[in-house]
Symmetry: D2
Subunit: 394 residues, 4 copies
Amino acid sequence: MSRLWDKGLPLDQRVLSYTAGEDHKLDKRLVAYDVKASIAHAEMLCEADLLSKKDCKKIVNGLEQLLIDFTNKKWAINIEDEDVHTALENNLIQLIGDVGERIHLGRSRNDQVLVALRLYMLDAIDKVLSSIDKLCQAMGLLKEQQGEISLPGTTHMQHAMPSSVTLWCEGFIEAFKDAAEGLQNAKRRSNKNPLGSAAGYGTPGLPIDRSITTAKLNFTETQVPVTAAQLSRGKAEAHILFELALVMQDLGRLASDLLLYYTQEYSFIDLATEITTGSSIMPQKRNPDVLELVRATTATVHSCLNECLMITAKLPSGFQRDLQKIKAPLFRAIDISIESIEIMAHVIESVKFLPENIDMDEGLFAAEEAYKLVLDEGISFREAYRKISKNYTK
Amino acid sequence: MSRLWDKGLPLDQRVLSYTAGEDHKLDKRLVAYDVKASIAHAEMLCEADLLSKKDCKKIVNGLEQLLIDFTNKKWAINIEDEDVHTALENNLIQLIGDVGERIHLGRSRNDQVLVALRLYMLDAIDKVLSSIDKLCQAMGLLKEQQGEISLPGTTHMQHAMPSSVTLWCEGFIEAFKDAAEGLQNAKRRSNKNPLGSAAGYGTPGLPIDRSITTAKLNFTETQVPVTAAQLSRGKAEAHILFELALVMQDLGRLASDLLLYYTQEYSFIDLATEITTGSSIMPQKRNPDVLELVRATTATVHSCLNECLMITAKLPSGFQRDLQKIKAPLFRAIDISIESIEIMAHVIESVKFLPENIDMDEGLFAAEEAYKLVLDEGISFREAYRKISKNYTK
Amino acid sequence: MSRLWDKGLPLDQRVLSYTAGEDHKLDKRLVAYDVKASIAHAEMLCEADLLSKKDCKKIVNGLEQLLIDFTNKKWAINIEDEDVHTALENNLIQLIGDVGERIHLGRSRNDQVLVALRLYMLDAIDKVLSSIDKLCQAMGLLKEQQGEISLPGTTHMQHAMPSSVTLWCEGFIEAFKDAAEGLQNAKRRSNKNPLGSAAGYGTPGLPIDRSITTAKLNFTETQVPVTAAQLSRGKAEAHILFELALVMQDLGRLASDLLLYYTQEYSFIDLATEITTGSSIMPQKRNPDVLELVRATTATVHSCLNECLMITAKLPSGFQRDLQKIKAPLFRAIDISIESIEIMAHVIESVKFLPENIDMDEGLFAAEEAYKLVLDEGISFREAYRKISKNYTK
Amino acid sequence: MSRLWDKGLPLDQRVLSYTAGEDHKLDKRLVAYDVKASIAHAEMLCEADLLSKKDCKKIVNGLEQLLIDFTNKKWAINIEDEDVHTALENNLIQLIGDVGERIHLGRSRNDQVLVALRLYMLDAIDKVLSSIDKLCQAMGLLKEQQGEISLPGTTHMQHAMPSSVTLWCEGFIEAFKDAAEGLQNAKRRSNKNPLGSAAGYGTPGLPIDRSITTAKLNFTETQVPVTAAQLSRGKAEAHILFELALVMQDLGRLASDLLLYYTQEYSFIDLATEITTGSSIMPQKRNPDVLELVRATTATVHSCLNECLMITAKLPSGFQRDLQKIKAPLFRAIDISIESIEIMAHVIESVKFLPENIDMDEGLFAAEEAYKLVLDEGISFREAYRKISKNYTK
């Protein structure tokens, strides 16, 4: 099977292997989006009289068939194809004959990969949002069922003021809802149609109409000018990765709280046996591995953001092959974030607070006492503070 | 001058020096915001009948005076004060007497620093937006004046298709406008009023009304529940830092293009003499240091984002002193970003393209030729591509 | 097949899937090292009279057989095994019967994974060193064959002083040799025997002799005390990753130079056709993708270092499951670094400098001229500098 | 006062301010090293007959005087000087007249800054080593005085096996000694003499002898070839930063342990009052701020490493002004690391373990029991494990 740009010249196998990298594996998830965008592109060509209706129909049918066939494992992306785009075109030509060669008019792999990635990211955000929703529900349920249990509110990890399971849950729920809003806003950068920017300099002399694919693919806007498309690659990606990094930070902090509460010294909570694992040499132990792994995953997602930003840093404008490398950290972060959010919802469902072990000592109420003094005696808070503090000599 | 929490206990000087860190220097820029938020807080206490009108007036006048005095260097934040909040309260008491002690009712330094930072960030974003605007204007002017000059559009740093100064400018202008929109959206996380969350667990027994300060300070919403406030610290900061990192990436890429164009081999541009610097041992040289430093600054701002995210990572919920450390990278990144954007506007004003040195070789028009073949002969792009490619044997 | 710590309790499938993660795939490369360390451990138990000679022989033979069988794909690490350690023990018991249960005395998976990783890293460093050697040879050959070709030496990307292919090659060769020395030194942290630290607190009451495995496995030292072993996890890893990051920086800078030299404007070099790739819409192009991907890979390896450091950050001492997450970035960075170094050696072999395109302008010799003036006229360099600089008015 | 490269051309004030950046402040700490290297350079010029003995003496005396004067604040580095190198030369000429102009023969600011930084780094490492030594002593003392107190050894933050203050201290002491060895090894990259590489391409036609300055400045080797010097900038820096990042990781983990032990729920330790701070609204509290700030500082130092690596990434070879930006994160990390290590030694001196609060539950001894069963009954560990585990049903 030939590569799109094959001109009969020899290509060193090791170079191919290095340059194609993992694309033939990673690109699996892009097949549906490349098909979708290719159909929109073909129909646009047809509307612009650059493709006959008959040919367009053949191409569209062929692409739809290829998507079904891919799902049914009738074809795959091979390393010789390099990427999904070449694989799809090659398979199309094989399936419907020479007419398939007419699809690659007025586009380049540069805008093809951009559009497929953006369509994918819009979907991926929705998947993350749906897992955040599950987590919020789990926390909501926890609050409903055990919310009245008291907790020492801490600052500096020291008992500070009275808190409760309700307040604890609500803080995290606000955080996750904020994250959801952040992710929703992050769609903005994926919502720009790059199709028609081709290699990054448009299609001089070819009367294409980019607004048609914008409408067909439900993008919010067409990304003009053509030079903006490649310059923006990595930004929609970085934006999602940033928002995922924030979600993972909250998950990590939730895990830190639970790990603390689950220590023998705290014993504030119990976790379902099936959530914990055993030890290979200490028969008495039940370990909260899942929480530790969530905590560690904050590092993974943050590193994916870093990799993305570092890949585009300092590059001259115009497409650079470097950009291909963004896919791996993007996909890795999205997958592990969704898994982590969902496993956390799972864990939260099994958390049982143990009020009998939670000591609400007197000191927690010192600020409240001072407030009472202020209200009762009309003195300033500072004076009340000095009076109350005499009672405490930690 | 005493620290807010001073109970007459000894405090080790080295510990004070380590814990106060640079706060007494960094916090200068927060004075105006702490004054503003303190006034809103005092007025709220008054409306809630927790402070008499007379006392409120004294406090408000005192705070206003202190802001003027600070500008006039009549007082400063000393290391013994630790931070702006203690310094302000101490100075207030010194200025207006014991009534000043009444201001610290129903708030804590934890929500005080949050609110001051958010008010600061909202202003800081506006300052960044204004410098982006200057840069867009400079690029717009460049486009207007030299836009018609041809440039080789490149992919893989290789001549690809015809471009122009217009297209080049427009790509970056879109990028900067996108960055501006991103920064505008980043205000969302600063637009939540944390005042009244106090140490992070509210003010039990004290009938304060948080919506009053929300209105007075023009926040979009009150951040409820109280536990959400401290959990969210670092997020508004990270969001700005992320958007600044994206702006700096574009600046860095713009610098990379210009550095390339300025090499003797390209000689696509000239830069004003006053923009360049000389060499200490090579008399013939003019160096584009400013562009190199902009390029390097992408690393600085990205690292500030990293520092911010790493500081909050894995912390148990509730206020932790770690959070203090976010201020330094936040301020550093904001300052250097504004400086970099503005110096770049300055540089762009002085860029002179040299069309006589820009070679638009035939190969740049190969895709266009292929398109023409498609239109003229009705063949597929693939066939046209094969025909045209025979003319090229690089 | 049972997990080591299985006590008949239910384990939620999703938790297993999340906690085992990719370990069953990643751990493939650790099989040989786990076998090697297990054999040393069994022999130590035997020497300490904790295992009979007969049983020891059975275990050692069994382990050796399992390594052969693994290579022949007769068994694999399944997700139910969680990791290589459990898989190996399970397979051993299956192969040689109950006597296999005697291997897990005086060790834990915590020191088992540590020792396997360290043995692996010592080997991996040697593999990296061998690819660096290839690269140095390629650059040495280039220097030998084309070294006399002149190059403009640049500072600030501006012509500065005369250089040559020799000087250019030698700079990078020094860099790669320095990297090799750095990697060699990085072995130090892998060269500490953790075996016998068990879960991190030793094996109270069990008369094992840790120095025996140290000798058998050729470690430089036994890591005492037992608590040091887990606290040090991630450091040998981070050290290698840091040194790889430095190598990749040099590779990236080498790629940047070559990408510059390969532009049409420079045309300082040609690359073999089989090293470059074509374009899908621009028939005239040959693209240096491989160099761009090497440049991008600096971001990948640096991010792996970041991930490693962020995973261990702030963890309480003692083993934490978080540490498992270090394997993925470690392996990823080692693999891609070796591939990148080797592909670069490949590229360097095909670089052809084109002296006819390299313009050594007069300005390059200005400093030399100034030196001459100093020597001839006995004036200070500053004075000579001022005289010479009059000749240049860029 | 004139800049070294001044040719009478106008220089835009804003460009100067942006390009000089903070150098005039940062470079203060380099004065002594620039003086030292300049003296060695002058003496080398004299030995090579490029400077008369009389002139050399004047220059050397002048430089020595300038160092004393700088310490006495008789001169300072101004922004107009840009950096220490220009300031020093300008002041030398002012002090000893035109003969001062003879110092800048056969060197450039490029190798001047390299050599000054390396001499500085060699000293800085010694300072870090000395603070690590203090910390090890403090931990050694703690071990000596309270070592016999039992501690629950944990894995997964769960009670695992018996440990002790001794084991806990020893683990960290090993870590800090390993860090010290790492830092000692990091000197290697600072121990290469760059002097004489000048701008990066040597001093053609000028008979200098680089081995002389190598000997005079006690470098281990001369860095040949000349092109290697600039290519290596940032590596010695990154190496120190990496090792500091590792030290800070250990400090952060030590802080995490202590923060845990200091919670009300653990109450394993008490801290001296003068180590802790109070709260502005909760009169009962004593907060371990210093430990939280140490924990947060891991992020700062890691970010400095990141910034350093990102600055040099992808740069073409040859000096680039970007490299100037490495100084700020380098100095920041060194200063804060030393402060953090020393404050930690201070904290450790005040830690008092409270054995009465430390519960060594039965489960901690389960593994030991199993070992006993193995020894007593000759059964396998696996069988013993199964027997013992029946006693535990957490």
